[in-house]
């Protein structure tokens, strides 16, 4: 092995050598630098490899031939190797990225850059406190030099602020170090640690001085304005280095110096970390300047890393994964984003629309953003998971909550940014600067991030217990996205079919899982058929479709909480990306992801509490955990409620469904929605009978009534069906809240039913919209003659929805009535039935406004919906009809699966279903009605065989014909009287509430960020106050 001292010698030597070059020989100086950095990478890399994968032991390098305390010693252990590798790797790529800048600035710039990297390396490796000080100072001065690369007054001012802040820090640090020396007579870190500073008189003060200085160096909120200004003003290449090279260095320095406090400071560090994490992410919400935003995010990431460092004892052996996960994610993603920001012309987030139409760059952008936001399978996802689990098992629920709050703020701005880029209608006219030497580092960081993902997935494979083939499939779709859409559609459908056949045996014994498995895969494959109607490549559609379905499938097959959660997040991300493809989906998709992830965080807490109780991450232990702590079930339930859009948490749904692409809505609404129900089944089965479920039942009622009434007032066809979904989810929630077999049977019956008719309806309406290009129903009308097949679909859909015999919907009502009286929830039940009658309003509106009434001139020559829209509808209709005639095909296995639940079931005698209350024979009902219908039809035909068809306007119209179809097509706001009577039930309090919450958050973030007033002196004062306050607080008072 090459001794690590050569990390120093190579860097230092190169810096000296550069003094002999000439500015015009930039090839030589630049080449030297790159060569040196490459060498340093090799050294760090070989050590990293040897220490982690070989049998190399950590080494100490002594300088000047003495052993400490008489000399400075450097250490090369696993941490040092890995972190110097990170630094040097970023250094190399950063040098490539900055090459033309450095070249322009001359050989001194190269020199400063080398010194910068040198300082970082030594600060990481050194075990001597004073040496640490020196090299941190060297790094600081070099950084200040690099800030000079941008020749603006703004950058100069930021540089000065930086110098002011770091000088104060270094003064404090130096005093601390010298007093430490005077107390324990050594500068060697290990010596100081062994010296037991906290036990010596005055030692606590020394510890305070040293650690507060290092802490300030990590830019803790709120004494970090200087850092943010530098991030904003420096060249993005330098910002990247500050975030991904200096950041890890400081974090590691804190980590290695922390033991001098004898453990007393661990929690303090973690607390400052959480304050920084939450505070910075909160203020970042209002940022519009890219680099400043990234700065806030970097500071926040440093904060969460400090949490891990401070809580290393609690984290135990998982510490390294938590720390690595957080560090690596920030490393790759932040460098990537900073470097990308250098390609973009302009400073505002809005300028990133320049990336539009550049799939690879957009992919990288999305990859970085969503990794930072902690979506799977990013390392941060696993790190946060592990962090939450370990915190929970140590009773750190408050920590857990704050970490999730901070993460949520982070999510707010990251997804809004992404949404702006994807969804904004304006595209910045400027062209991004796509120089190869700038693109390559970004790409490498992307590849690195993906590689880390693979590593973490591999590491957590036993805990995940999931099938990796689907994940590989997603990756393959990303790579093959250049293929035409029909090919990708075919492949996706075939893959889903194949997976269904392969894995159906896994869930065969669990009827509930089997139902969802079939809905997700078979239903999904059918609904995807509509995609054949679209031409072109549809880049960025199928990977997300696959992501959604892989997530859904994973939910069903998961056996561990981690596997479940990963699938859940994958589904949320995939569906979010799908929705955000819609033309006007910017805002709605954003709200969708916020609610999705908000719910997911509650799940995370629930799983955490469960882990704390049982100590294992199995889904099957949730029940045990919930018996000890019902909070498990309650947290999970509330989390799932956001997915099924229970009233209060529903505002994301109508927009999201309406704005998604027309062939995406069916499976988002008809299929993906069931994920929430699957979750509820999981969570409610473990807290069955808890008093909480009584409230839940009422929530179901409110959801059903509210959703259905709101649906009746919609003019947008997709929104109407979307609100209707909320209503149906209310029924199901209501049913699941009852702890009796009949109710759960009704719920599962509704799951199947809702999947069938909702997919049919959305496909049919999607097909219509495909032709009419409008979603406003009152603009359509009379389409029955042009689109008879779509009409029949909608007719069958609404009959099933309304619960009218003989179609399957009636079975749902029948089961419901039985469940309600068995459980004794009479009033609630009656209100749910009331909502069922309200459903007629929108059912009629949907079908009549589109298909009946007066045809408009502009649709005179419209054609039937594309065959690929019609085909899946009729496949599903066949299913619906079978289900209507033979409901026992579903109900009997479901009853068997639910047999352990309290309450009676259905007695079957052939097709005859009986409970102690009533009876129902779907087969006979269908037969009787069909025969009767045919006879009566024959009777009418017999009597009116001479009937002649008349034209559209030939009707009883006061002796006239209508002048235009618009004047006699009654479709707009037709339930105005109903609104007048009962509209007070649906005043949008929820929307008001969330709007108010959002405005308050927004306004306070905007107000609080004024704390950073841009004045270096104020920043200095803030630091001094921070130090004093910190001291007073740890000394326990004023």
């Amino acid at each position: 092995m090459v001794t690590p001292i050569h990390l120093v010698s190579v860097a230092l030597g190169t810096a000296f050598l550069l003094g002999f070059t000439k500015d015009r020989n930039w090839k030589i100086s630049g080449g030297l630098v790159l060569l040196a950095l490459l060498l340093m990478n090799l050294i760090s890399g070989s050590w990293t490899y040897a220490l982690f994968f070989g049998d190399q032991v950590p080494v100490q390098v002594f300088t000047a031939g003495f052993k400490p305390p008489f000399s400075i010693n450097l250490q090369m252990g696993r941490f040092e190797a890995a972190i110097t590798l990170m630094i040097n790797f970023a250094g190399l790529l950063g040098a490539i990225y900055l090459f033309d800048r450095l070249k322009k600035a001359g050989r001194y710039a190269f020199m400063v850059y080398m010194v910068f990297i040198l300082g970082l390396n030594v600060a990481v490796m050194t075990r001597d406190l004073f040496n640490l000080f020196v090299f941190m100072e060297i790094t600081t001065i070099a950084t200040a030099g690099l800030i000079f690369l941008v020749q603006t007054g703004k950058a100069a001012a930021a540089g000065l602020k930086y110098m002011i802040a770091t000088s104060i820090i270094s003064g404090v640090l130096l005093i601390g170090i010298i007093f430490a020396y005077s107390l324990v007579s050594t500068l060697n870190l290990d010596g100081i640690i062994d010296g037991g500073l906290p036990l010596i008189k005055g030692g606590a003060m020394v510890v305070f001085l040293i650690l507060i200085a290092l802490l300030l160096e990590s830019k803790p909120f709120p004494a970090n304005g200087w850092g943010l200004d530098v991030y904003e003003s420096a060249h993005p290449g330098i910002g990247a280095m500050l975030s991904v090279a200096t950041g890890p260095m400081i974090a590691y320095v804190i980590f290695k110096v922390l033991p001098i406090s004898g453990g007393a400071w661990n929690h303090l560090i973690a607390i400052t970390g959480i304050i920084t994490f939450v505070g910075s992410n909160f203020l970042a919400i209002k940022q519009h300047n890219t680099q400043r935003l990234l700065g806030y995010s970097s500071v926040a990431q440093a904060g969460i890393l400090l949490i891990a460092i401070g809580l290393q004892k609690e984290l135990g052996h998982t510490f390294i994964y938590v720390a690595a996960g957080l560090l690596m994610t920030n490393y790759f993603a932040k460098a990537g984003l900073f470097w990308l920001s250098g390609l973009i012309k302009g400073e505002s987030l809005q300028d990133w629309t320049q990336l539009k139409g550049r799939p690879v760059l957009l992919f990288l952008f999305g990859l970085f953003v969503f990794s930072l936001a902690g979506f799977p399978p990013s390392p941060a996802f696993f790190a946060k998971w592990e962090l939450i689990m370990q915190l929970a098992s140590h009773g750190g629920y408050v920590w857990m909550v704050f970490i999730l709050i901070g993460s949520f703020f982070e999510l707010i701005y990251l997804t809004r940014w992404f949404g702006q880029v994807i969804g904004s209608k304006e595209k910045s006219s400027a062209q991004p600067d796509l120089a190869t030497h700038r693109l390559v580092p970004v790409g490498i960081m992307g590849v690195g991030l993906l590689g880390t993902m693979v590593f973490f997935l591999h590491h957590y494979a036993p805990d995940l217990a999931i099938d990796f083939i689907p994940i590989i499939f997603i990756a393959a779709l990303f790579i093959l996205d250049f293929l035409p859409a029909f090919l990708k559609n075919t492949v996706t459908i075939l893959a889903m079919g194949w997976y269904l056949l392969q894995h159906i045996s896994d869930v065969q014994n669990d009827t509930v899982r089997l139902i969802f498995f079939l809905i997700f895969l078979a239903g999904g494959a059918i609904s995807l058929l509509a995609g054949f109607s679209y031409k072109g490549k549809r880049i960025g559609y199928y990977p997300f479709v696959a992501m959604t379905f892989v997530g859904l499938t994973g939910l069903v097959t998961a056996t561990t909480t981690l596997g479940f959660f990963l699938s859940w997040e994958l589904m949320a991300l995939g569906s979010y990306l799908l929705i955000s493809r819609g033309k006007n989906a910017q805002k709605t998709s954003w709200i969708y992801i916020l609610f999705s992830v908000g719910g997911a965080y509650l799940l995370l807490m629930g799983f955490g509490v469960s882990f704390a109780v049982t100590g294992d991450g199995l889904l099957s232990s949730l029940g045990i955990a919930a018996r000890a702590l019902p909070a498990v079930g309650i947290l999970l339930t509330i989390g799932f409620l956001s997915k099924i859009a229970a009233m209060g948490l529903h505002i994301w749904l109508p927009g999201a469904y309406a704005e998604a692409e027309d062939d995406a809505t069916p499976f988002i609404a008809g299929i993906m929605m069931n994920a929430g129900i699957f979750g509820l089944i999981l969570s409610l089965s473990i807290i069955a009978g808890h008093p909480f479920t009584w409230w839940l039942g009422w929530l179901g009622v409110i959801t059903a009534v509210g959703g259905n009434i709101l649906a009746a007032f919609q003019e947008d066809a997709k929104k109407l069906i979307a609100y209707s979904s909320i209503g149906i989810m209310g029924y199901i929630l209501f049913a699941l809240s009852m702890n009796i077999q009949m109710a759960w049977m009704a719920a599962l019956y509704y799951v199947v039913l809702h999947f069938l008719y909702k997919t049919i309806l959305f496909l049919a309406v999607g097909g219509v919209i495909f032709r009419t290009k409008t979603r406003e129903m009152y603009q359509m009308g009379g389409l029955i003659k042009k689109m008879p097949l779509s009409f029949i679909s909608v007719l069958i859909g609404i009959i099933a929805l309304a619960g009218i015999p003989p179609l399957a919907g009636f079975g749902g009502k029948w089961l419901f009535y039985n469940a309600v009286v068995m459980n004794g929830w009479y009033l609630q039940g009656a209100l749910v039935f009331f909502s069922g009658v309200v459903a007629f309003l929108y059912c009629f509106k949907l079908i009549s406004a589109i298909f009946l009434g007066q045809a408009k001139d502009r649709y005179r020559h419209i054609k039937e919906a594309p065959v690929w829209y019609i085909l899946p509808q009729y496949l599903l209709i066949i299913g619906l009809l079978i289900f209507s005639v033979l409901p026992e095909l579903v109900l009997q296995p479901v009853a068997h699966a639910l047999r352990s639940m309290p309450g009676e079931g259905i007695q079957w005698d052939g097709h005859f279903a009986q409970t102690s209350f009533g009876y129902w024979n779907a087969f006979i009902v269908m037969t009787v009605i069909a025969i009767m219908f045919v006879i009566l039809l024959a009777w009418l035909i017999l009597n009116s065989r001479k009937a002649q068809k008349v034209k559209q306007f030939d009707m009883v119209f006061a002796g006239e014909t209508p002048f235009t179809p618009e004047t006699s097509h009654v479709a707009y706001n037709i339930y105005a009287p109903f609104n007048k009577a009962l509209g007070f039930l649906v005043v949008p309090v929820t929307t008001w509430f969330w709007h108010a919450t959002a405005s308050v958050t927004d306004a306070s973030a905007n107000h609080l960020r004024k704390w950073y007033n841009g004045n270096g002196q104020t920043y200095a004062l803030q630091m001094v106050i921070y130090i004093v306050m910190f001291y007073l607080i740890i000394r326990g008072g004023f």
């Binding site: 001065i141 020749q151 000065l160 003003s233 004045n1015």
Partner: protein, 123 residues
């Protein structure tokens, strides 16, 4: 430690210098004055380092005819802080130089040395 010993007085002066420096950094509006504040602050820190290394009756840790290799341990003061303070002074000079060069750049940009003028990046 005797407060009125050489060491005590030096330490006190050192801390007073630090406070004066800090006062200057936090109250002066002129950039040059702020930088002067920093040099005073640094000097205070350096004085403290030296003061801590002070041992009564001992001489500078330089080995020559007066202080030979053999009796150095008994005759000289602690050499390490002395070495440290040299480094610290050098660094201080570097920092001051960088600050001054920033000031120069800032003055060229806005023709002002008032610190509260330079708040372009904020919030």
């Amino acid at each position: 430690m005797n407060f009125f010993s050489v060491q005590g007085i030096s330490l006190t002066i050192g801390f007073i210098l630090i406070l004066i420096g800090l006062w200057g950094i936090l109250t002066q509006r002129n950039l040059i004055r702020i930088i002067i504040g920093f040099t005073i602050f640094n000097n205070g820190v350096n004085l403290i380092i030296v003061a801590l290394a002070y041992m009564k009756g001992r001489t500078a840790p330089i080995i020559d005819q007066v202080v030979t290799r053999t009796d150095a341990v008994d005759k000289v003061a602690d050499p390490i802080p002395q070495a440290l303070v040299l480094t610290a002074i050098v660094i201080g000079v570097g920092v001051t130089a960088v600050m001054l060069s920033y000031t120069l750049r800032m003055y060229r940009a806005k023709h002002s040395l008032e610190i509260n003028v330079f708040t372009e990046s904020k919030w």
